[in-house]
């Protein structure tokens, strides 16, 4: 929605996009496959890709014809992204990639990956040096994808193994060895969006339905507190997006929204379980099904895209403590 018209975008504001994202989340719309490209990969390409690649790939994203996945984490590199060891070696034909990416959501549906690969060793002075972002066509020879089933029994993430995969030279995104410099503003988008507190919102709606129109004090208080918290998170999230729209880089604020939003959406199913403990079982079969699912997925909410601990360390840095 926000991208330049020449690449198929509509040049609308980030707040317009915010509203649409929010409605998708609340309606539990099945948009996830395209969301990665819209939120993260597209903006990275816009900023760092060669023009011929932008002209080729971006319009296909906007037409909904191609999906992206993110290849950052590895078996031995999660929170510490800069420990990534999947290697890209420069050759005459292009870059040869070898190694394993893990937890790659939707790799099995994706057309492209934006992969973070090691192009030189880190240095004594800069632990973060030596990594480069690449655009990778996931259909290239030398890439094999195998499913990793999550604890809810679903196939969301994958292991992606690179075995002498050849990535063309013009697929380098940004500065070689300098991927660490590219993070800031994209991360603020990634962290402050409505998906960072609305993941389990349907539980709140259905809990209100289950508790009925005349709740007792305990139930009413529970609803009231949760609604107050949801409303405040939303106001914060909207305001961070307003700051982004104004061209600022609210790194601290984005981290706060994600920390508080994910902790909240994670606790919501547990609180809803407590509050509905005394309601008539006959009224709640659908609710129980949803609740069971939400409790299953709750653990991931404070891990994916940067753990609570990592976020708090970022906030602490923002407060001048580190």
């Amino acid at each position: 929605m926000t991208w330049p018209k020449k690449y198929g975008g509509q040049e609308r504001s980030f707040l317009d996009r915010y509203v649409v994202t929010e409605e998708f989340r609340v309606a539990n719309a099945p948009v996830r496959a395209h969301f990665t490209a819209d939120r993260q990969s597209g903006p990275v390409l816009l900023k760092y890709a060669a023009d011929e690649i932008k002209k080729d790939v971006l319009p296909r994203i906007t037409r909904g014809e191609c999906c992206f996945c993110i290849g950052m984490s590895e078996p031995n590199s999660g929170s510490d992204l800069f420990a990534a060891s999947t290697k890209a070696t420069k050759t005459d034909e292009g870059w040869r990639v070898n190694g394993t990416k893990l937890w790659t959501s939707n790799a099995h549906h994706a057309d492209y990956m934006i992969g973070l690969f090691r192009t030189s060793p880190s240095t004594e002075e800069n632990h973060r040096h030596g990594l480069t972002n690449f655009l990778v066509d996931i259909t290239l020879p030398g890439i094999s994808i195998s499913p990793v089933h999550n604890m809810a029994g679903l196939h969301e993430f994958n292991e992606v193994v690179f075995d002498d995969c050849l990535v063309p030279n013009n697929h380098v995104l940004g500065e070689i060895n300098g991927a660490w410099k590219q993070a800031t503003s994209e991360l603020a988008y990634e962290r402050s969006g409505p998906e960072r507190f609305l993941e389990t919102f349907y539980i709140l709606t259905e809990m209100v339905r289950t508790l009925g129109t005349e709740p007792d004090n305990r139930s009413a208080e529970g609803i009231g507190r949760l609604v107050a918290q949801a409303h405040t998170l939303r106001r914060m999230s909207v305001s961070v997006n307003g700051m982004l729209q104004a061209g600022m880089e609210p790194v601290l604020e984005g981290a706060i929204v994600k920390d508080m939003g994910t902790v909240w959406e994670q606790a919501l199913p547990r609180k809803a379980r407590d509050l509905t403990a005394f309601t008539d079982i006959g009224n709640r079969t659908n609710f129980d099904r949803l609740l069971r699912y939400a409790i299953h997925i709750a653990p991931k909410l404070t891990i994916q895209g940067g753990t609570t601990e990592v976020l708090r360390s970022i906030i602490a840095r923002g407060l001048g403590l580190r």
Partner: protein, 355 residues
């Protein structure tokens, strides 16, 4: 933020840092600081911010008034500034000239408002009126409208709030108000509760900012095990949570203030559901933030923060007092929850998204 906002915040901050600095007041052995601080606030017009110019006030925007309150909250305000602002706002609505000197507001409760008898006198007792012993007048919400009452005519118990500020029961039996007037379009206890809760939320947002700053500075200075405690990750993460709770409080209080300003600007007769959501959310969420935030701040300071000489308690005890005023988190949550339940599940998201 507009330029006037900046000037108002700067003026408030300057007066408090010169005459109402929390550490200085905490060291003082008597109340002689009260008069100069109050005079400076009154002379600058801050105490009459919400009274229109044609009624002898400063005619500031509603949001300006809330900015004053956030700033005063940062300085752990211990004079009836918030109460006087609220009283002025209410008197202006009723078209009553605001008297000089500090004021406070008494309102009874929803089931039992104060009545004006056939002989024109009031009866009833107001519970825990903030700064009751320190003010010249009370603004009383009665069944016949807004009444202005001389404090010296009333029977004021001695008492203090959780923070040690004057706060006590006031009995109005037989007292005849100097003026009584109705608010055009009607105005009830619920409306006054909303304004009071928004005011306390703003003060709490300011107070949390103050304790965050204090705790962060202290963590950088205090050395244990050979390094500043700010280097310990457990301390960093506690303070990150305090930072988060503070951000929440600022956002919630600001959003409620904007909602009230918009409703007032639109000359709405009474506050609607959206304003109710905003204010309830602010009072609930700032109150919750105070609970978690004050615990973290005290934890960071260790024993020194638990002493009466230390400035921290000047802030945290006021935060606890403000949290109780104009309805606790639980009271607001029950009312908000009832409203949401009555509206029905399918109205919840549309209401949130409308804000």
């Amino acid at each position: 933020m507009t330029e006037t906002d900046d000037i108002i915040i700067d003026t408030t901050a300057r007066i408090f840092s010169e005459l109402g600095d929390p550490q200085t007041l905490n060291n003082a052995c008597d109340d002689t600081w009260q008069q100069p601080l109050w005079t400076a606030l009154a002379d600058s017009g801050l105490t009459r911010a919400w009274v229109p110019e044609d009624q002898g006030g400063a005619g500031a925007e509603i949001t300006d008034g809330f900015d004053i309150l956030v700033t005063a909250g940062r300085y752990a305000v211990a004079v009836p500034l918030a109460e006087t602002l609220l009283a002025g706002w209410l008197l202006a609505k009723a078209g009553i000239m605001m008297p000089d000197g500090p004021l406070s507001v008494a309102m009874g409760n929803a089931d039992n408002p104060f009545r004006i008898n056939s002989n024109g006198s009031l009866s009833g007792t107001a519970k825990v009126v903030p700064f009751a012993g320190d003010v010249d007048h009370f603004t009383v919400l009665t069944d016949k409208g807004v009444a202005l009452v001389k404090a010296s005519d009333c029977n004021i118990e001695t008492g203090v709030s959780m923070a040690g500020d004057a706060m006590s029961d006031v009995t109005f039996d037989g007292v005849t108000p100097s003026t009584v007037a109705v608010v055009p379009g009607g105005f009830g206890i619920k409306d006054l509760m909303l304004m009071g809760a928004a005011i306390r939320s703003a003060q709490m947002a300011g107070g949390l900012q103050a304790i965050l700053d204090l705790a962060v500075d202290y963590a950088k200075e205090r050395v244990a095990f050979g390094r500043p405690i700010s280097k310990f990750q457990a301390v960093q993460h506690n303070l990150a949570r305090l930072g988060g709770e503070t951000a929440v409080a600022v956002a919630a209080a600001g959003s409620a203030a904007d909602a009230i300003a918009n409703a007032e600007g639109a000359n709405a007769q009474q506050f609607d559901q959206a304003v109710f959501l905003e204010v309830a959310a602010a009072k609930i969420r700032t109150g919750e933030a105070v609970g978690d935030g004050t615990a973290i701040a005290h934890q960071t300071f260790g024993a020194i923060g638990f002493t009466s000489e230390h400035v921290l308690q000047r802030h945290t005890r006021r935060l606890w007092a403000w949290r109780d005023d104009y309805g606790s988190e639980s009271e607001w949550a029950v009312r908000l929850g009832e409203m949401i339940a009555t509206n029905g599940a399918d109205e919840l998201w549309p209401l949130l998204a409308s804000r």
